[in-house]
Symmetry: C2
Subunit: 488 residues, 2 copies
C-alpha cells in the first residue's frame, strides 16, 4: 500500500483519526491493502502524515474494533479483513452506504457494555441514581395497569403516544397535547429531527463541547458540524457563525449542559432566540437535566420564551427515573410534530404503551414531583462527594474541576499534558471508567479533558472510584514512558 | 399557479398521485401558489395531466391531511398553508429535508388511530389475536423479574440486546448469539438496514405487492423501487430485473407473505439464493408469520438454506404475542450485525430490557411453544370464519379471495371496477376498516385489491365486520354515482 496517497483535512469537521480510519478501511475494502499485509508503524505513519502518534494509535484501534486489522506483539498491525470473519464469503463491508460509514464511533455502544461490568466503577455513562429508583411503587403501578388495562398494554399504540401521556406531559410543559410526541428516549428525538431537517452537506451549529450522541447523529446525516462555545456564550460569535455557515439548525443543551454543567442565563436565552428569529434558524433545545437542580432555579426553557415557534424541545425520563424505561418526549409546533410523527412511524411504529401508562400515573399522582426532590438532594450529595475526594486525593494541576448547579456531570481538565484516551485505558485497568473529552467535540479537541458522571453511584463508591482514577493519573504523570507499554 | 408546469413520470417508481402531491406541496411551499388560492378542479387537472380523476382526488386528500389545503363544498380546494397553522409564523414546512419529504404517506400512523376506535371493526392492521394473549402468565413473569432483577430493568442495557435474550433467540434460529441483534420491533430492522445499505438513487428489489412499511422506508431512503411478482415467482424475470437495475438489495417475505399469504417453495428459495450469490445481492428475509402455519410445514428459512452469508433475517414477537411489546430481532453474519448495532445505538440506544427478559423466560420455559400452537388453531378458525362469511354474503364477482396456509391475511380482488380507496371510505362509514391494495405496491397498482386481516378479532365479530363490508361494497356497486357524493 502506498501511504503517500492518504491525505487528511485539518479543517473543522471530522476528527483526524476518523478520517484516517475511513481512508484505511476504504483501501482495505478496495483491496489496495491485502489481507496479511502489515500497516506502517504508528510512529512512521504519524510522521508521514504530520499528525500525532496517538491519533494513529486511535485509528488502528478503531480498525481493530471493526474487525479489519489485528494487532500482534512483535508483528505490528496486520490486515485481516478476510481471515477473521467466518462470513467473509460475502463482502458485506463493501455494501455499506456512505451515510452508515460516516460515523462509526462505537463509544455509545461501548457505554452499555462498560456499565454492566461489575468490576468497574463507571463514571462514564450519564445514568440516573438507580439505587434510588422507586422500584416498589413502580412495580405496584405496573401490576395495576396489567390488571386493569392489559388490552392497552398489548395492542398497537398510536405513533404520537397515548393521549393521557401527552396530556400529562403537556400540562407539565404548559403546551397543548397536540404539541407532544412520545419518544423511545430523547435520543430518538435527535435522530428523527436530523432525518427530518438535514440533507447531506447542511451545516449544524451545536455546543462544543456537547452531547456525543447528537454529534454522532449529525455527522451520520452528512452535516457539517460547527461548534459554538456555549460556556462563553458570545452571541456576536454565534451571529458570525450563522452568517458564515447558514446552518440548518442550532442544537443546544442550555440547562446544566452535557458535559460542562453550564447554564445559559435568561438574558442569553432571549438574545439567542432573537438571533434565531432574525435568521430563521430552528433551535433544538435538549433539556434532560432541568429538573435536577441543586438549590437553584434555572431560567425558563427556550421553548417557553420563544414567541416565534422555532424551538423543538426534547425531554426524557432517563435522568430522573431510569434510562431502562426508554421514554422521552418532544414538544414543538404542531406542523413539525406531524412531520416527525410520520418519521417515527416508519422507524419503530410507536413507543411501548406500558411505560407511558406507568409514567402518566407517576406524573398525575405527584409521586414524580416528590421523587425529583429526592433525586436533587442525592445528586447534590454525590457531586459533593466526588468533588471533595478529587480535591483530597489529587492536586489541582493533575485534574481540576468546578462545582455545577445541577445535572449529572463534572467536566475536568487534565494537567501535565496527559491524554484522556490514554488515561482511560489506564483507568479501566484500575477499575474505573469515564468519558474522554474528545468525544464531546466535533473537531477532535478536548484531548486533555474528561467527563465524570457523579449521579449513578452512591457516595462511598464514588470516593473509591475517584481514588482509583487519581492513582491512575498519578502513575501516568510519573511514568510518561507508560504510553509505549500500554499501546502494545 | 401555472399547472402547465407540472410534469409527471409514468415510469415505474413513485405513484402518480404522490408525484402530484410533491409537485403541489413544493409549489405551495415556494409561494408559487398562495394561501387562499383555489386549485384546479379534480376533473380539469386530471384531464390536463392525462391521469385519472381518482388520482387527483387522492393527491388532494393527501395535501389536506398534510394541512396544506382545505376542501370546501361549493368552493373547491383552497390553499391554506399559512392560515390553518397557528405556528406558521415560523416556516417549518420549508425546513424539511428532501429525505423526509419523500415518503409522507400517513397510512401507518392512521392504522394506530383506527385500531383504537371502538366503533370500527378493523381488518386493517396486521395484529395478533390479543384476546388470546397469555396475560396472566405474562404478568406473573413480569412481577417476578421486577422482584428479582429490578436493577437490570432500569439500567442502561446493551445496544445488541441482553445476552440471555440473544442466546434464547439464537437457539431457536440455530445460529450463534453474536449473530442476533435485539430490535424495538422488526420495523426498526428494516429501517436500520435501509440506513446501513442504501444511498439515495440505489435500486431495491421487493415483492409487489409487499409490506407497506418496507415500501415507505425504502422510498424515504431515496431508493428506486423495483417490484417483483413473488406469487408467480418467475426467476428468469428476477434475473432480468437484477441485471437491468443492479439492485442494492432484495427485500422479500417468503413465508405467508404480506399481503398475499403466498409461500415460496423450497426449490424457488434455493434458486433465489443461487441468483443472489451470483450477483452479490444481499437478501432481507422478513419473516414475521412463519410460526403461524395452519397444518402446514413451511420450507426452511432463506437464512438456513444460505451458504453464502448474504441473508439478513428479521423476526418479531408482534404477530405471535403482541405488537405492544415492541420486540423483534435480526439474525445475520456478524460483520453486518456490528454495523447495524452501531446504527441502532444512534437511533434509540437500546431496546427495553424488561420485554427481553420476559420473552426469554417464555422461550426457555416452553410457554411460547404452547402459545404458538393455540395461536395456529385460533388463526385457522378465524380465517375460516372470514372466508365463509365472505362467500355467504357476497358473490365472488364482487369480492373474491383464496384460503392461505398461514399468516394473518386474505388478499381480495374487487369486481365491477370498484376502487378500493373509495370502498374504504364507504366501509369506514359502515364501521369496518381494511387496507386498500394500492399501499402494497411501489407503483400505484392494486386499485381494485384490498387486504383483510383475520387474526385480530374473534370469529363472531369477524362475521359482523364482513357483513358490514359486503353491504358497503354492494351499495357501491349499485350506486356508481356515489363517488361524486363521497368525494365532496
Amino acid at each position: 500500500m502506498n501511504i503517500a496517497q492518504i491525505t487528511l483535512s485539518h479543517r473543522q469537521g471530522i476528527p483526524l483519526y476518523r478520517q484516517l480510519v475511513f481512508a484505511l478501511a476504504h483501501a482495505i475494502e478496495q483491496g489496495e491493502i491485502q489481507p496479511g499485509e502489515q500497516l506502517p508503524s504508528e510512529r512512521a505513519l504519524g510522521q508521514h502524515l504530520g499528525i500525532s502518534r496517538t491519533t494513529v494509535v486511535t485509528a488502528y484501534q478503531e480498525l481493530e474494533a471493526q474487525g479489519l486489522v489485528r494487532r500482534q506483539v512483535g508483528r505490528g498491525t496486520i490486515v485481516c479483513a478476510v481471515a477473521k470473519d467466518p462470513h467473509a464469503s460475502f463482502a458485506w463491508q463493501g455494501k455499506v452506504a456512505r451515510g452508515a460509514l460516516r460515523a462509526s464511533d462505537p463509544t455509545l455502544r461501548l457505554l452499555g457494555e462498560i456499565s454492566v461490568d461489575p468490576t468497574i466503577i463507571s463514571f462514564a455513562a450519564g445514568i440516573a441514581a438507580l439505587d434510588l429508583f422507586p422500584s416498589q411503587l413502580f412495580q405496584e403501578i405496573t401490576a395495576r395497569i396489567w390488571r386493569e388495562q392489559a388490552q392497552r398494554v398489548v395492542e398497537l399504540g398510536p405513533t404520537d403516544g397515548l393521549l393521557e401521556f401527552r396530556q400529562a406531559v403537556a400540562t407539565m410543559m404548559g403546551v397543548r397535547p397536540s404539541q407532544i410526541l412520545a419518544l423511545s428516549g430523547s435520543q430518538q428525538g435527535i435522530d428523527l429531527i436530523a432525518r427530518c431537517l438535514l440533507d447531506p452537506g447542511d451545516s449544524v451549529l451545536l455546543d462544543a463541547p456537547g452531547y456525543l450522541g447528537a454529534i454522532q447523529i449529525f455527522q451520520a446525516a452528512g452535516a457539517h458540524l460547527i461548534g459554538w462555545d456555549s460556556i462563553h456564550a458570545d452571541l456576536n460569535e454565534l451571529e458570525d457563525l450563522i452568517v458564515r455557515y447558514r446552518p440548518k439548525l442550532l442544537y443546544t443543551t442550555p440547562t446544566f449542559q452535557n458535559p460542562t454543567g453550564h447554564t445559559l442565563s435568561r438574558q442569553t436565552r432571549l438574545r439567542l432566540l432573537e438571533l434565531a428569529a432574525r435568521y430563521h434558524l430552528p433551535i433544538i433545545e435538549d433539556d434532560p437535566y432541568r429538573d435536577l437542580a441543586f438549590n437553584f432555579k434555572p431560567p425558563p426553557t427556550l421553548l417557553s420564551l420563544d414567541t416565534q415557534h422555532l424551538v423543538i424541545y426534547l425531554g426524557t425520563f432517563s435522568k430522573t427515573l431510569a434510562s431502562g424505561l426508554r421514554l422521552g418526549w418532544l414538544a414543538a409546533p404542531e406542523s413539525i410534530v406531524n412531520h416527525l410523527a410520520l418519521l417515527k412511524g416508519r422507524s419503530d411504529l410507536f413507543t411501548t404503551s406500558l411505560q407511558q401508562l406507568v409514567v402518566t400515573e407517576l406524573l398525575r399522582s405527584g409521586i414524580y414531583t416528590q421523587h425529583i426532590k429526592n433525586m436533587q438532594r442525592a445528586y447534590a450529595q454525590r457531586q459533593a462527594a466526588m468533588l471533595g475526594e478529587l480535591r483530597r486525593s489529587s492536586p489541582p494541576d493533575l485534574i481540576s474541576s468546578f462545582a455545577v448547579q445541577g445535572g449529572l456531570y463534572l467536566w475536568c481538565q487534565l494537567g501535565y499534558g496527559i491524554d484522556a484516551r490514554l488515561a482511560l485505558q489506564k483507568a479501566l485497568q484500575a477499575g474505573v471508567a469515564f468519558l474522554p473529552g474528545e468525544v464531546f467535540y466535533p473537531d477532535g479537541r478536548g484531548q486533555d479533558e474528561l467527563r465524570l458522571c457523579f449521579s449513578a453511584i452512591p457516595p462511598s463508591k464514588i470516593v473509591e472510584g475517584v481514588r482509583r482514577l487519581t492513582q491512575a493519573l498519578n502513575e501516568l504523570r510519573s511514568a510518561p514512558k507508560q504510553e509505549e507499554h500500554l499501546r502494545r
